[in-house]
């Protein structure tokens, strides 16, 4: 069970959190004309990285904030956690 530092609450066990996917994915702006390919990439295509991965988690049984975690997908080492509005 991972030990994750919520940027708002501090160190907590993994069972308080929910995983939320790749944090580098940006939703296309509303009302913007984009190609099928761009949209499909946004909806479906994700990298399956081995190594450092910036991802979203939500402190679902805590402050309910979404935040970013930089984690090694192979070793589970967590390098850094950031608030939603912070960049690595």
């Amino acid at each position: 069970m991972l030990h994750i530092k919520c940027p708002h609450c501090g160190m907590r066990s993994q069972n308080e959190f929910a995983y939320g996917g790749d944090a580098s994915v940006k939703r296309p702006e509303l009302n913007k004309e984009i190609s099928d390919l761009e949209w499909d990439n946004f909806v479906y295509l994700r990298k399956s990285l081995r190594g450092k991965h910036l991802e979203l988690w939500q402190h679902i049984s805590g402050c309910r904030q979404w935040f970013k975690v930089q984690r090694d997908t192979a070793t589970h080492e967590i390098f850094k956690t950031l608030k939603a509005n912070e960049d690595i």
Binding site: L2, N31, Q58, T75
Partner: protein, 998 residues
């Protein structure tokens, strides 16, 4: 039976307390503090079971967690537990145990015929023999193998015991209370660290219990006792015996199983049987010690052959002689310690040492005691079937390849010592890349990956002085890092006898012309010849050799066999052991009961149960409940001996004819506030929201980004910047997270707050033609006429002094209102509705009637919004705005979603108007078409229409819009039904929706 093998004045057992027990139906007694193994050995019982493959007689090999043979079926307090290690199970009054894997009895076992057929059961035998014909596997081979093989029998009874889970945090977790564990725990605790010290055995002290050493001016055992006593009194220390740390997971999370009641005849009241600890430790000290390695020779599995350290423990801890004519076979000094203990207790051992001329203090002591020592000698084969009677021994050449003349010596046990294997399981599980230490011929932990430190014998340090020094230092250093304290305690003087190098020799060659089985893995009957075959057949990876031969795969997980297996592979392959590598160590280190892992999460406790504030009323009124997510909802209110079908029909009919009330508290409710609330709704729902006036509700549909419908519900504008959203019961939590995601990550510029209010509001849906009359009586001050409170209107009012929210919304398709009050007032509201509603012939209705009402109205719900359908499929395309953008809109342009013959929801009526169509039935053109019969659609929901008194179903069917009027077949192979049906509109009742607006 008398205890012929028990000594008078030695051991740590409590001789004042006799304990009687049964083994294989026969009565024995032992003492408090005995294990089943020590008590049976005291009674001279060596035959305990039969081996897995050849059904060879099995005795005791070890004295603890490493035991490969001596497992039994245990009976305790009406429960039966398989594969209990007799070397670990403590005696309790009335204990009963039976042998496993033998039939009809341990003394006469029919399966032993395999032993004489062993030439036919080599490595991979099952793979090779039972391959074909394929159809034989299930019918012939598997039942046969299952009957002949296997150990204990799992109970099929419901386990009545209670198991618990516990979470704990500490600075240092120390796994094992031998010298390294005690020293590091003591020095860290004295430096202010929060310490957990876990010991698998009932007794603390590890090797100090049996070794002849002095620490300070005390014996090793006294020192251990005093340290433990002091630790137990310290407030910052948790000391646990009978507790095995069995798994090391990410981020220094370890799991430990504590056996609280297994040593008692019955679990005490208010106490669990076992407890699983989740321990998050800042630092972990692995002080798990080492396990003695066997030496390999002919018939080395004969009962009476055992580890020399086990013989010593039986003697010193339990006062039990494992034999009276012991033969000690060793390649190192440890065997001498056992021999010396025998000698001191009046028994004359013979030592066979594989070394030529070793010199050390221990060997000198043995010589001074006039113990018969034969150097450069080996045991060639053990003689005797159910018990060792003698041994063929021989001198061995210096290159260890040639045997001299075979001599036969009488003996009743053979104590073997092949040096020590550090217990590195936890270190390896932590991710530590282990390394091979040539000096001790074994793997030791390498560079730490997590915050773990391995000390003492587990790290390959076999002298007490060095172990204690390292452990005192480590305990201090590790605790200093955490506590910043600087309280270092002084290091005691250690007196121990120096030993000399061990011999790398471990496997005795076969004499010419002999084919004795030489076993590596005692539980799975894997012999040297099996590994040789595997290698000859081309298996190279040690992981493959393991699986092909089953070496190290039994319940003991190869604690005594793995390293010898590796040595054999490396010898044959002419490699060194580190090139061969070791197989992966995985949790659990030793078997853990399923009960411990499951804990309290059994049956109804496996997840929380949520009840509405009206739950007690429902119970009192004969509600039959159904699980709706984690909620319990009334399915119907049973009158007399009504069935579900009859009851729900009555309730639904009453809604259509009079008025009904339904508990809708379980609907998800989200409170939305902020100046940008309307903008948020406009983006998450498919329809337009910017112009919804205050005091109005609107139905909305949400999509996922991939265009699939996620949820639907109504949202009401309470005031200028305040909305009340409802979601389906099942999606409530997901929708909240969904909104939070978009607000926090995607559109943080929106000034909106969302919070769940599901539990703050109790809800009652009042539906039926007489609902207005009832609501008017409930709220006499409010105008609830069609003009005063039109369809989709909202108003607040007082329900007999209680603040209430009144929504004119309808799920049943009837004229309906939904009243919400604060949860604490829910039951009051409910009782008032029932009381006032009497004159209008009100009846409560459950989820089954609710479904009936919505199905015949063609309102889609969870069974249509199933995560595979888009708005069009549910005839919700009218809800999709063409003007504005929203979540998932771009996906609706996908080709398949716009296909001409896209699936769509329709109604289905059986032609005979009698036969109900099972949900999940497939719609096909021709019942007798060639398989696979092309499927046009499926039945998503079925009910008995109370409006027309015939069955009605909803279906999702390809090209749905052009299917109305067609005659098809509904097939349910599961229910074995073939029903001719007609496709009709999904809006079966009141297709124009006049009633809700009336």
């Amino acid at each position: 039976m008398s205890q012929n093998f028990r000594l008078e004045n030695i051991g740590l057992i409590n001789r004042d307390k006799k304990i009687s027990f049964k083994f294989n139906g026969k009565n024995y007694f032992g003492y408090e503090g005995d294990t089943i193994a020590s008590a049976l050995l005291a009674n001279g019982v060596h035959l305990i079971g039969r081996s897995f493959k050849y059904h060879r007689p099995r005795g005791f090999f070890g004295s603890g967690v490493d035991e490969p043979y001596a497992i039994v079926q245990l009976y305790r307090n009406g429960e039966s537990i398989p594969n209990i290690k007799t070397t670990e199970q403590e005696l309790f009054e009335g204990l009963e145990a039976t042998s496993v894997n033998c039939w009809p009895s341990v003394n006469f076992d029919i399966g032993a015929i395999n032993n004489f057929l062993k030439i036919f059961l080599p490595a991979g035998f099952y793979y090779k023999t039972f391959m074909w014909p394929k159809s034989f596997w299930h019918k012939v081979y598997e039942p046969f193998i299952r009957k002949a093989a296997g150990f204990g029998v799992a109970s099929i009874k419901h386990d009545q015991e209670r198991y618990e889970h516990k979470y704990e945090y500490c600075d240092l977790l120390i796994t094992g209370s031998g010298p390294s564990g005690l020293a590091s725990a003591y020095s860290a605790a004295k430096n202010g660290a929060r310490v957990i010290l876990a010991e698998n055995n009932p007794r603390f002290g590890g090797s100090l219990l049996t070794s002849e050493v002095n620490i300070g001016n005390q014996t090793g055992r006294e020192w251990a006792e005093n340290i433990i006593t002091e630790l137990k009194e310290m407030p910052n220390v948790i000391v646990k015996n009978r507790s095995q740390v069995f798994g090391y997971y990410d981020h220094n999370m370890l799991v430990m199983s504590e056996k609280i009641s297994d040593h008692l005849p019955k679990t005490k009241k208010y106490s669990p049987k076992e407890r699983l600890w989740y321990i998050r430790a800042k630092e972990v000290v692995i002080s798990s010690g080492s396990i003695e390695r066997p030496l390999v020779f002919g018939n080395n599995d004969t009962p009476g052959v055992m580890l020399s350290s086990a013989a010593k423990e039986y003697l010193k801890v339990y006062g039990v002689l494992v034999g009276k004519k012991p033969l000690i076979f060793t390649n190192n000094d440890s065997g001498y310690e056992t021999a010396i203990e025998f000698k001191k207790n009046g028994i004359d051992p013979v030592i066979l040492d594989t070394r030529k001329d070793p010199k050390s203090e221990i060997i000198d002591e043995a010589k001074n005691l006039n113990i018969n020592i034969k150097f450069s000698y080996v045991v060639v084969v053990a003689k005797g079937y159910k018990k060792v009677k003698s041994a063929d021994i021989a001198k061995i050449s210096e290159d260890k390849k040639e045997l001299g003349t075979i001599e036969n010596v009488n003996c009743d046990c053979i104590c073997v010592s092949g040096f020590w294997t550090p217990t590195i399981h936890l270190a390896s599980q932590s991710g530590n890349k282990t390394k091979f230490n040539k000096d001790i011929d074994a793997f030791v932990p390498g560079i730490s990956k997590q915050n773990e430190t391995t000390l003492g014998a587990a790290n390959g340090t076999f002298t007490l002085e060095e172990t204690l020094k390292n452990s005192f230092d480590s305990g201090y250093e590790l605790s200093k890092k955490i506590t910043n304290n600087d309280n270092k305690i002084s290091f005691p003087i250690v007196v121990e006898k120096k030993s000399t190098e061990h011999d790398k020799f471990w496997c005795v060659p076969l004499p010419k012309g002999k084919t004795y089985k030489r076993f590596l893995d005692f539980q799975n009957d894997v012999a040297v010849s099996d590994v040789e075959i595997a290698l000859k057949e081309g298996y190279r990876s040690i992981e493959h050799v393991k699986r092909y031969t089953t070496l190290g795969m039994a319940t003991d997980q190869g604690k005594t066999s793995n390293l010898n297996g590796l040595q054999l592979v490396s010898n044959i392959e002419n490699k060194i052991v580190p090139e061969v590598g070791h197989t992966t160590f995985r949790p659990p280190y030793t078997p853990v009961t399923i009960g411990t892992i499951v804990g309290r999460e059994v049956g109804k406790h496996s997840r929380p149960t949520r009840k509405s504030p009206m739950h007690l009323w429902h119970e009192k009124n004969n509600a039959v409940f159904v699980d709706a997510g984690v909620w319990l909802r009334p399915r119907y209110y049973k009158q007399g001996d009504e069935t579900l079908f009859e009851g729900s029909k009555r309730e639904a009919k009453n809604v259509r004819a009079n008025v009904g009330v339904c508990d809708v508290t379980t609907l998800g409710k989200i409170d939305i506030k902020g100046p940008d609330a309307a903008e948020l709704l406009n983006r998450v729902y498919t329809n337009a929201w910017l112009k919804l006036p205050v005091g109005k509700a609107r139905y909305g549909v949400m999509l996922r980004e991939d265009g699939i419908v996620m949820d639907d519900g109504t949202t009401t504008r309470i005031s200028e910047n305040h909305y009340h959203m409802t979601t389906t019961t099942a999606q409530a939590a997901n929708i909240l997270s969904h909104l939070e995601y978009y607000l926090q990550i995607v559109w943080p510029e929106l000034n909106v707050n969302v919070v769940s209010t599901t539990e703050q509001w109790a809800g009652a849906a009042i539906a039926g033609p007489k609902s207005r009359d009832l609501v008017q009586k409930l709220f006499p001050k409010i105008d609830v006429s069609n003009e005063g409170l039109p369809f989709m209107g909202y108003v607040e009012g007082e329900l007999f002094g209680i603040h209430a929210r009144i929504f004119r919304i309808s799920f049943s398709g009837e004229l309906a209102y939904e009243v919400n009050v604060e949860s604490d007032n829910g039951n009051y509201m409910w009782e008032k509705i029932i009381e006032i509603g009497k004159e209008f012939r009100i009846q409560p209705y459950g989820t089954e009637a609710l479904s009936t009402l919505r199905i015949e109205m063609g309102h889609v719900a969870g069974s249509e919004l199933d995560g595979r359908t888009i708005p069009y499929d549910n005839s919700l395309e009218g809800m999709v705005s063409k003007k504005k953008d929203f979540i998932g809109k771009r996906s609706l342009n996908r080709k398949a979603f716009m296909a001409e013959d896209r699936q769509k929801v329709v109604g289905v009526v059986p032609l005979d108007k009698k036969t109900s169509i099972p949900e999940g039935s497939h719609l096909v053109k021709d019942a007798d078409a060639k398989l696979p019969n092309p499927k046009l659609g499926y039945i998503s929901a079925s009910c008995w229409s109370v409006e027309y008194d015939n069955p009605f179903s909803l279906a999702i069917i390809k090209d749905g819009k052009n299917m109305i009027g067609q005659k098809l077949i509904a097939m349910s192979p599961l229910k074995n039904k073939t029903i001719p049906v007609e496709i009709v509109s999904s809006h079966y009742v009141d297709p124009k929706g006049e009633r809700v607006r009336s």
